[in-house]
Every structure is written in structure tokens, then in C-alpha cells.
Amino acid sequence: MRLSAGACNRHSEWRAELRLAYSGRDGIACDALAPSPRLARTSPRMPLFRFMFGLLLCTSVAVAEEWTTEEVFSRHKDSVLQIRIIDAKGGAKRSIGSGFMISDDGRLITNFHVVADFVHHPGEHRAEWHSSDGASGPLELLDVDVVHDLALMRSEALANRVFLAVESNLPKMGERLFSLGFPYDLGLTIVEGTYNGLLDKSLYERIHLTGSINPGMSGGPAIDRNGNVIGVNVATAGNQVSFLVPSRHVIDLLTRDDATTRGELMQRIGEQLRANQARYLTELMQAPFATTTLGDFQVPGAVARHVNCWSQSDQAQERLIDRTELSCQSDDDIFLSGELTTGAIRYEHELRSARRIGTLRFWAQMERSFRGFFGNLGGDEASVTAFHCHQDFLEHEGLKSTLMLCVRRYREFDGLYDLVQRQVSLAHSDRSLQSTLILTGVDREHGIQFARRFAEEVRWSRR
């Protein structure tokens, strides 16, 4: 895509850092929650009951005292495990992360991105848990929440192991949290940080933790001073800016029935993605678009709180064309695999005006700009189709433009598409606005509705 190199770089660097941050974290072992043998025999199909019981018990016990970092570590270290995805042919690690015990029947929580290879290619990978005392065993996948980057797994060998309580209420601003996990495969580590509220500008709910979560800690727990899991380590932007998935999404995952087959699991992922895009695009469509002025044009600006916009102009004195750029994007997306992310909105407007250049040369430059697209959307032939495009002239409220819409479909998820739309105004011979919109993981109805609204919101403000 032709989003500005600056904007693209910012995005890709940021994303790279997020990926880096994926790691498991350690769970706080709450001794008070260690299940009695009778409790451990509770039906394995009743995780919610056990979880609620544990939550109440843990809260009532833990409120009485505040633990030091050493106490938190020693109490909960047994509940936090390293998750390894092993390449079946090579026999070595493909990816690593962390996870924490969530029930007495051997269930544990980790991040979806930690086990993504295992989800997509189960025949070529196997999943294992490793504890800090050297024990290990195989894991099976029960369910995932791809939108919030969570996975629920189980190992019979982990039954009756101490597990952690989950707190769905958010702590107070500035409260101390402890994040646990296995950073860089270095062994179980505890990191102290501060709760800084939910991210305001995020499409997906995230807790902002000021503390150093590092690669390998993805999927580990972040617990409060009472020993309750507040969130799940998921990402970092570096410099102690880290992110957690709020615990309430763990509860949502635990209350669902397990998926029995891989087909059912993939179907659930598709449903989650479709529901997610329908939710946020419907919200966007219900409100009037925030527009901004770019030269003679009115264009969609920051259309939602979670959309971040940046602007820049060409400053070189000897330039032949004046160029102003406005690029906007949602700062987060959904990890599907190492090659493919989805669930993001990005768009860019570029206004170019001829300065010391004739009409023919100006339009030759516009053509070059139109043809250049540098926003590799990722994905391989097994996961998505090639792009298919439709191009024509669009006329809306007196503004004529050429519009090209390109779509590709996800092979594994029915009815989901990536959509790239590029539009160039044709109203003036010496200036033109080029707008590019990228929507990933949208269905026909919502994607086309949004794309049309976006194209029609580009207006010529002075006639």
C-alpha cells in the first residue's frame, strides 16, 4: 500500500515489538487455593465452579495481608509453567511462552499466539508444558479466544496442581502488579510493575502495565498484591510499556464448552473474527465520521478513539510537487499466525499539488504514486487467496474520482476478507487527493458498507 513509509515503519516496528513481547508469565501460586482432594475430584466439566470458588477463597484470604515479591514468587511459582511448541520433525522448540494453572483438573491459560503454530498445523507440531522444577508433559488444546489472544489447554498430568484465582475487577490506578513468566527461556522470573488502567486508544481491551514484560513471558499471569490474576501477559512496546489481556476474557473462555475437534476450533475462530469485525464496524458506522480538511478536500480523520492519526508535509525547497499526508491506523490487530494478522483499520490520504511541474508530468507522478503499494499484508497462499480487483470512476457530490477496490479471502475462515481500496480525485489538473483504505478480516456486508462510506466521505470542500 502507499501509506507513507514513515507510518508503515512506525506500525511495523511497533508490531514487531509486540510480537517480541509474546511470552509466558508466571502464575502466582495461591497456597490458600490449593484444592483439597475432594475438591480436586470435582467434575472436569465444571471449571467455572472451581474457578469461582477459588476466586472467592483467594480474595478472602489474600485481602488480609499484602505479600512481598519474594512471597508472591514462592507461593505461586508452581502454578506457572513454560509452554513449548515443538516442531515434530526437528524435535526442537518452534516457539515458547508461559502459561498458568487455572483449575485443578489440569487446565491452563496461555496466549493464542504462543500456540498458533500448533493450532494451524497440529500434525507438524506438539505442545508441551515444562515446570521450573524440571517436570514436563504433553498438552492438548481445548479452546481459544483469538480476538483477545488467549488459549485454554489441558494436561492430565497437571491435575491437582495448585492453580491461580482470577480477579475480574480491575485494580486501582498505580497498584503494584507482579508479572511472571519465562523470559528468553531463562527460567521462571518475576517482574514488578504498576497498573496504569485500560488502554484508551485500543480496539481490543488491554491493560497498560508499566513493567518489563519480555519475550517468553507471553501467556503468563500478572497478579495483584492479593495473589489474584488481573491479566495475562501479551505484549510490550518496550521501555517498560507492557500490555495485559484483562482477566474477564479468561473467565469468558472458561465458561464455554471445549471444542471437540480441530474443525470446530477453526469454526469458532472464524465466528470470533466475524463477530469482532461486525461489532467494531457497526460501532463505527453508527457514529458520524470525524472529518478533517486537507487542502480543498474533506477527508475521514480519526474516525474512532482507537484510530491514531499522523500527518506530515514535504519540506524540501526544491520540490516540484507539494505533498501533505495524513495517515491513520488502529494501533492493534489480531494475531492469526506468524505470517498473518487481521482485525485492523489503516488508511492514508495524500494530497499532491503541482508546484513547478506541468500537468502531464504531474499526472505521470500521480500514476506512479497510485501504482506503488508498499503495505505487505502478509499471509501465504495456504491462508489467503490472491487479490481480486474492481476499478471504475466514482462520482459523488460533484467529485469525480477513480476508485479501485481489491479483495482477498481467508481460505480457512468463510466469509472473511482483506480489503484494500484506493481512490484518486480527478477534479483538478494540478492537484489530486489519493486515499487508501485497508481493512483486514471483514465480511462482505460490513467491509463494503465501510469502504463505500469511506469513499463517499471524501469531499471537495470548495467548489
Binding site: 508530468r361 503499494f373 505487505n376 495456504a382 481480486h388 470512476f393 466514482l394 462520482e395 477496490l405
Partner: protein, 325 residues
């Protein structure tokens, strides 16, 4: 009063393309034809007897077969003849040699091959054409460079950018000239240069026209397909032109090799297209933006555009149902 005839006519030896290789006057009778050196017409053909046939007669001439082994024939007729009555333009076949009889009073058209025919083709091999064509192609190359450049124009840079294309043109013409020299003992450098320059100018004009039409009618794919076909046709015409300059004979027999080169070019042009079909995770916005052409057609309302765009979604659906290779 007509002058008395001092000869009876002429016998022409004709090659397979109809060109006359030799013409011998029949000044006395009998006029003997054969492989032996004591004949009046000596033919170097192993399928002819040393004394194969004779021309005889008074009012009317006849060819009389002298009991030859392979016989004498009229035109393409397979029936062997002992005597053949000769009229004006009568075609004969003995051995593997074709003969044609011409009467004494016949007016003959020029039938010998013209070794300079090619060089006179369209009068291309002239300096003033060469200079005009070179200037035209230089203008095209410079113009394309200027349109494609986003930098301020500096004469040195523009000339430097245009020079490689002109050098290639000069070398192209030189290559054909060398072939020309080997085959027909003449260079015709200017003629070959003119053909090369015209090809560059025409190709640029066709591409521009295609871009304008493709943009106006939202038919970039059709336009690029048309570009390819027109390109192949242009290549065929160019090859024909070069061969025509080289050849000494009729232009008709050059059509086939020129067409062959055109088809080969077409095949080559479609091969990279197949390579382009390799999977890409980026959309391709390979369309032209020719503002003046936008006036040729009105814009569509959003509803119509997005209804039509369903085709692209359907195409993606269809591909998603296929198993990737």
C-alpha cells in the same frame, strides 16, 4: 512491312519461383537441347539425356523428344509427349528443368530478379529519413524520461538518460546492416536505423493510446492484452521491414518468417504473465491515470460501483474454494 525474322524465338530457363535464370535465342533449326556440350541449349541437369530433345518445324515450331529416358512434358501435366507444339508462353518440363518458349515477336516484361529491389523499399534508405526518424525517436525517449522523472530537469541528466536507448537503436541497426552485408553485399544502415526508430515511435504511440483508452473505459486488462498483441504485430512488421531491406526478391515470401517472429514474441510476452500469477500478498494497482481520458465517461454512483465490485469478491470466493498448488 515487318522486318524478316532472323530467329525463331527464345527458350527461357525458369526457376521454381518463376524467375528467368537464362534466355537463349533459337536462331537455327533444329535447335538441340540436352546435357551434351554440342547442344544449342546445354542444361546441367542429371535427369536430362545428353541429347534430350530438338526444336523443329516450319510455320509452327515443335519440340520433338529424341527418345529420352525421362521424357518431355507440358507444364505440370504428367503425360509424356513425343511432340509438343510450341506457342507463345508455352511451358515445358524436361528432367527437373522448367523451360518456357517465347515467340520471336513477343514483348517481354522484366522477369530477372532485381538485386536492388529491397534497398528501394519505401525509399527508407535515405539520410533525410534517417535524421528525421532518429530525431523523432530521441524526442520520444526524452519525453518518456521527463514524464517519468520527479526531479527538476537538467539537460545533462536528460541527455544521459536518453543516450542508452539511442545507442541500443544504433547497435540494433548495425546488427541488421551486418546481416545485410553478408547476405546481399550492401549495408543499408540508414534504412535499418529508420525502421528501428519508427518502431520505437510507434510502440510509444500505441502504448499511450492504450493507456488512455484503458483508463477511460476502466479496461486496463484489455488494454494491456491489446498492447501485447499490437506489440507482436509491430515486431512482425519491423522484422519484415529489415528482411525486405536485406532481400533481393519478392516481399511476399518474407511474410511467413515475419509472422513467425511476431507469434514467437507473443508467446514470450505471455510467459512472463504466467510468472506474474505467482502468489502475491499485495494488491496490484497497475492502472494508468490519464486525466484527459476521464472526460470520456461519466462516474458511477457509489451504489453501482460497489454492486459491480461484488465480482471481485465472487472471484476471491471461487479461488478460496480451490486447493492452492
Amino acid at each position: 512491312m515487318e522486318p524478316p525474322m532472323s530467329f525463331f524465338g527464345a527458350v527461357e530457363v525458369v526457376d521454381r519461383t518463376g524467375n528467368v535464370q537464362a534466355r537463349v535465342r533459337v536462331e537455327r533449326l533444329p535447335f538441340r537441347i540436352g546435357r551434351a556440350l554440342d547442344n544449342d541449349l546445354v542444361l546441367d541437369d542429371p535427369h536430362i539425356c545428353p541429347h534430350h530433345a530438338e526444336l523443329r518445324g516450319a510455320e509452327t515450331l515443335e519440340l520433338i523428344d529424341c527418345g529420352s529416358l525421362n521424357g518431355s512434358f507440358v507444364g505440370a501435366d504428367r503425360a509424356r509427349r513425343e511432340r509438343i507444339e510450341l506457342g507463345t508462353g508455352c511451358e515445358l518440363r524436361i528432367g527437373h528443368t522448367h523451360l518456357r518458349f517465347r515467340g520471336a515477336g513477343e514483348q517481354l516484361a522484366a522477369t530477372l530478379a532485381d538485386p536492388m529491389a529491397g534497398s528501394r523499399w519505401l525509399g527508407l534508405d535515405r539520410w533525410h529519413w534517417g535524421i528525421a526518424a532518429l530525431a523523432g525517436s530521441a524526442a520520444v525517449v526524452v519525453g518518456e524520461h521527463i514524464l517519468g522523472s520527479s526531479q527538476a530537469l537538467r539537460p545533462g541528466v536528460v541527455a544521459g538518460a536518453a543516450a542508452p536507448a539511442l545507442i541500443v537503436l544504433a547497435l540494433w541497426a548495425l546488427s541488421w546492416s551486418l546481416v545485410n552485408r553478408v547476405v546481399a553485399h550492401r549495408f543499408h544502415y540508414v534504412g535499418h536505423l529508420v525502421i528501428g526508430c519508427l518502431a520505437v515511435i510507434t510502440a510509444s504511440a500505441l502504448e499511450t493510446l492504450g493507456d488512455y483508452l484503458g483508463f477511460a473505459f476502466a479496461a486496463n486488462q484489455a488494454s494491456s492484452a491489446l498492447d501485447t498483441v499490437m506489440g507482436a504485430m509491430l515486431i512482425a512488421v519491423v522484422v519484415f521491414g529489415h528482411l525486405r531491406l536485406i532481400s533481393t526478391g519478392s516481399g511476399r515470401r518474407l511474410l511467413a518468417p515475419a509472422a513467425l517472429v511476431g507469434f514467437a514474441f507473443l508467446a514470450l510476452m505471455t510467459l512472463p504473465d504466467a510468472a506474474d500469477n505467482r502468489f502475491s500478498s499485495e494488491p496490484r494497482f497497475n492502472i494508468s491515470l490519464k486525466l484527459p481520458a476521464a472526460a470520456l465517461r461519466s462516474g458511477r454512483p457509489g451504489e453501482t460501483f460497489y454492486a459491480d465490485a461484488a465480482e471481485a469478491l465472487d472471484a476471491a470466493d471461487a479461488q478460496a474454494d480451490e486447493v492452492p498448488e
